[in-house]
């Protein structure tokens, strides 16, 4: 291992420790916002898998968060444990995501975006109009927070740890996934589907898989969202959330592992920081995002990536120059 590697690990450990220790002194508002960040990061990681790695544009991630949230809301308010709701949400979102993947086999890019947009609207209408199941526009209130191994998470701090823990588990799983043959197949799919096919990758199966796994992560985020706000109604899961998640992925850096973490941070925390400007905060937020994307269309991590690439190029050219001069001066 190189020194750089150690530095990276040390940095990671410090960040994780900070995420655990620092919020201990936070008030309820700060903990709520941080929990929201963790939940949105999970949903954005799912979309990053579909969009960033496999290259399939989806405007339905918000709907999957909604499906997860409703599964959690309905089941836990009927006395079932959250873990059961989590199972149902994952299976449901995986299956629906798989089915939604079929159009992706036929249409690409913005056409695909339109298909998923239609699904997003459909999901919203189901949440709102199927009163018997979702209580319609009134929404479901008083959603209980779960007990994890006998520990109640009713207070904000334990619930934040639940969200953070879930984020940790999901991160490890995704980290493993993108380093597995599957992850490489996803990237191959994004870069050049024809070549991927010619190399023997079942592009059909992997496209569907990218959708299904990404959607399932949306469902996971949803099952945490419901007990976080303790109230679900259809409005938060409209197209706006899908667009928001898409923005998180792009702003953070689509196709980078840490992209969703940064993207969610920008989307959840930046408007909160800007609130001191009163009526202007959403405008400033929008301007900041636009400027960022003009400066770096590949997101925040794109800047870092560019910088690293430049440094590597510089180092390489320096080496080349040295080698060249040695060659020339060689007897």
């Amino acid at each position: 291992m190189t020194a750089g590697k150690y530095l990276q690990i040390a940095f990671g450990v410090i960040v994780i420790a900070a995420l655990i220790v620092v919020p201990m002194n936070f008030n309820r508002y700060g903990l709520f916002i941080l929990s929201q960040w963790a939940v949105m990061t999970i949903a954005a990681m799912g979309l990053n898998l579909t969009l960033g790695y496999a290259g399939q544009v989806s405007l339905a991630q918000g709907a999957f968060v909604g499906i997860g949230a409703y599964a959690a809301a309905i089941m836990t308010s009927n006395g079932l444990p959250l873990i059961a709701a989590l199972g149902v949400a994952i299976v449901l979102c995986f299956a629906i995501g798989w089915i939604l993947g079929y159009p992706a086999l036929r249409v690409q890019h913005h056409y695909l975006a339109f298909v998923t947009l239609a699904f997003s609207t459909l999901a919203f209408l189901v949440f709102r109009n199927e009163d018997w199941l979702t209580k319609g526009i009134y929404g479901i209130s008083n959603i209980p927070r779960p007990e994890i191994f006998g520990f109640p998470t009713r207070r904000p701090l334990p619930f934040y740890y639940l969200c953070l823990g879930s984020l940790g588990i999901v991160s490890l799983a995704v980290w493993w996934l993108i380093r597995s043959p599957w992850g490489r197949a996803f990237v191959a799919l994004r870069e050049n589907p024809v070549r991927a096919l010619s190399l023997g990758i079942d592009t059909r199966r992997y496209t569907l898989m990218a959708f299904a796994i990404g959607s399932a992560l949306g469902g996971v985020a949803g099952t945490l969202y419901a007990p976080l706000t303790q109230y679900v109604d259809p409005v938060p899961f409209s197209l706006a959330l899908s667009l928001d998640l898409l923005m998180m992925v792009i702003v953070g850096g689509s196709g980078f592992f840490f992209g969703p973490f940064l993207g969610a941070m920008i989307a959840v925390l930046l408007p909160e920081w800007l609130r001191f400007t009163q009526g202007y905060y959403l405008m400033l937020y929008a301007v900041a995002v636009i400027l960022l994307l003009i400066y770096s269309p590949t997101g925040i991590l794109g800047i870092l990536d560019r910088y690293m690439a430049e440094r590597r190029t510089k180092a390489a050219s320096a080496l080349r120059a040295v080698a060249k001069s040695r060659l020339e001066t060689a007897p």
Binding site: R28, Y29, I33, R128, I137, Y138, G139, Y231, G279
Partner: protein
């Protein structure tokens, strides 16, 4: 000499602290829909609050202390509303104001109750005040008190036995539709057509032809302002002449402006209106227009009233006591004679519901005309 000096220093410190305590502003927190789908609601509410506070502070404040308010935007999203209310409560305000959307009230009311802080809000859904929350207060009629009056009027005065209901499919519209449907059942009024519409809907041709096909004896319209104007135009275009009845929005100034001729003949129950034949309300309207350059809807009045509810209740208690506030407001009648800012006498019951006189209005030649004044339920 030294002890005297020390004692006087101590005394001075105590006195300045006391004076500071006396003069420190009373902190209020407002969380409202300042952006998103409810921006009109929240902005009116906020402006009403600011106007009232400005007036009260200019006259020396409440019990000699100035009022101070922070505004936070809920983006019309319950999740954001929850975060903002959490933040507001962490700062321990005297009273929490807002939100206006019933869904956002539902998610935030338990937090305020847990903190023991009174919440004065704009939501109108019937169920809000029926869950036994001691800290929640309305600024306007809930649907459970306005809809019975509408149903009674349709039955007694219009003598309609079949009614088409047009409602906007959000918590406001659906809540009203559910309550009035129950009321209609009491009078054996048939629901000839039950038509749900979308917020922001532009074209009502299909909905109106459904109404035409159902041939009701009256139409009850419960949608937002812009949509009210659009459907009124469409009803006129398709030649529907049966009485059109609404609640607050249908006969509002904005609808009359947008719908033009088509608004003539529309009737409605109005709990709070800037067109009410009450001198104090007219004066309020003039002040509002002078400051903000537009005529407020009932949400502007609600924000204003919330502040005067706080003033009257605090003066009744004779002290700024956050914990005792809710108890003092329960069962309290604020009279306009004693507190002109309340505009009309209002009584708050044990649930936090408001009782106040209401109006039945009709649009005649482009003007809202009050036809009947409905007295308070319990005098």
């Amino acid at each position: 000499m030294k002890p005297v000096f020390l004692a006087s220093a101590l005394l001075a410190t105590i006195m300045t602290t006391a004076a500071f305590g006396q003069g420190a502003p009373i902190k209020l927190a407002n969380v409202a829909e300042l952006s998103g789908g409810g921006a009109t609601v929240g902005t009116n509410w906020k402006n009403g609050i600011d106007l009232a506070i400005e007036e009260i502070n200019a006259k020396g404040g409440v019990l000699g202390r100035k009022l101070e308010v922070t505004h936070a935007d809920s983006q019309s999203n319950p999740g954001v509303a929850r975060a903002q209310v959490q933040k507001a409560l962490d700062a321990e305000p005297y009273v929490l104001l807002g939100p206006g959307y019933s869904g956002s009230v539902k998610v935030t009311a338990p937090l305020a109750a847990e903190a023991g802080i009174t919440q004065i809000m704009g939501g109108e859904a019937a169920e809000l005040t029926q869950s036994g929350n001691r800290f929640l207060f309305r600024t306007s009629f809930g649907q459970q008190s306005s809809m019975p009056k509408v149903a009674k009027y349709i039955n007694d005065d219009l003598k309609a036995k079949s009614v088409a209901i047009v409602w906007v499919n959000n918590d406001f519209g659906k809540g009203g539709r559910d309550v009035i449907t129950k009321e209609f059942a009491k009078y054996n009024i048939k629901v000839a057509a039950d038509i749900s519409t979308e917020a922001g809907q532009a074209d009502f041709a299909a909905d109106v032809s459904k109404i035409k096909a159902a041939a009701p004896e009256a139409v009850f319209i419960y949608v937002n302002e812009e949509e009210s104007a659009r459907i009124l135009k469409e009803l006129k275009r398709q030649g529907i002449t049966v009485p059109l009845m609404g609640e607050t929005t249908l006969v509002g100034q904005k609808v009359i402006e947008l719908a033009g001729d088509a608004a003539n003949g529309a009737r409605g129950h109005v709990g709070l209106t800037t067109d009410a034949p009450v001198e104090l309300i007219k004066a309020f309207r003039d002040k509002f227009v002078k400051k903000y350059n537009y005529v407020p809807d009932h949400n502007g009045l609600k924000g204003w009233l919330a502040i005067y509810m706080i003033k009257a209740t605090t003066e009744k208690m004779g002290k700024v006591d956050s914990k005792g506030f809710a108890d003092a407001l329960h069962g309290f009648t604020i009279t306009a004679a004693k507190e002109p800012g309340i505009l009309m006498d209002a009584t708050f019951d044990a649930n936090g519901d408001i009782d106040r006189q209401g109006f039945l209005a009709e649009v005649v030649e482009g003007k809202q005309v009050i036809k009947q004044v409905l007295p308070k339920l319990n005098n």
